[in-house]
């Protein structure tokens, strides 16, 4: 075996393979949870009925902020989970709030009339709040603790176990 050729080959290929392995090791499509552990961006919005709602008003209680839309099927799948959680944990002091993501208020109102809701649903003109929260698709749910810090961000529909575990952690 020619050790010199082997060594030269290894010198060239090993760093390249290591570099590629490092690159393949992370998913470029993985969305960031950059806001976890940081203060939740403040927002002052209005509900679809015109009532003002500010995140600051909910300070001191755990808050669940859910970005959703009626054109999003996973949001519809998630809806019963939110309904159950709001029924069970609302009386315990958890504030649930939904923010509409790129949707018509009339469609949202029709869906909520059919499916119900136990939380204020906020219009987000210009998608400012969605951008402030780094929303890159719906549903996305932010669990904000009593001190206003984002404890957890869930991209995609929140399952019942994750919902319960996170809420128990926040209370």
């Amino acid at each position: 075996m020619n050790w010199r050729v082997l060594t030269a080959g290894a010198v060239v290929t090993v760093p390249l393979v290591a570099l590629l392995a490092a690159g393949f090791g992370r998913d470029p499509k993985l969305r960031s949870n950059a806001l976890e552990g940081r203060e939740a961006p403040e927002f002052n919005l209005r509900t679809i009925d015109g009532e003002p709602f500010s995140l600051a008003d909910a300070k001191g209680k755990p808050v669940v902020v859910n970005f959703w839309s009626t054109w999003c099927q996973p949001c519809k799948i998630e809806h019963p989970v939110l309904m159950n959680a709001a029924e069970a944990y609302g009386p315990a002091g958890v504030q649930f709030v939904a923010v509409i993501y790129q949707d018509d208020v009339s469609k949202v109102r029709a869906f909520l009339n059919r499916s119900g809701s136990h939380w204020p649903t906020l219009a987000d003109p210009g998608g400012r709040t969605a951008i402030a929260y780094g929303v890159a698709g719906v549903p996305e749910t932010f669990f904000i603790d009593k001190d206003g810090i984002i404890l957890r961000k869930v991209s995609g529909p929140v399952s019942q176990p994750i919902m319960v575990t996170t809420l128990e952690e926040m209370l």
Partner: protein, 177 residues
Amino acid sequence: MRALLLLLGLCLTTPAVAAGDVADIVEELANAQLPDPPMEAPPEEPIAVERTERLQKALRCPVCQGLSVSDSPAEAARAMGDRIEELVRQGYTEDQITEYFVDRYGAWVELEPPKEDHQALFVVPFVALGLGVVGLLFWARRRERGEQDVAPAAYRSDPALAEYRARILAELGEEVP
């Protein structure tokens, strides 16, 4: 002008908001979540346009596959583009605006990743090239030396080959050393 149009749009699309609430909306827009205060005065029109375009090309549409904000027709990209323009016009620098989006979406939101995070990617090709050139020089030198020295010492002194050497040299008409 944009704020007026936005206000008009809000009034038309949100019937629940009474005219008396316009002042509240103006206040809301002014107090909307902004990053740190702008580091510069609001830029002149051509500079604002240029900065906005540059940022919209550099930042990724959050709901698309590899498209910049400026290249995407998605509503999310339009909202993000508007937000970029708004921040530029308020005097936020390009670094501040990029940081604002990176803070929310992660480094992924930059179409071209910052060089300092990927130094190896920029260094390795040059190192490989250097090693290749050095290797090539060594190979060329060895080859040149090999051509000059057709009969290495081992060949000349090997007694088992002496007979063959003598025959070759005889055929070539050369004297056996």
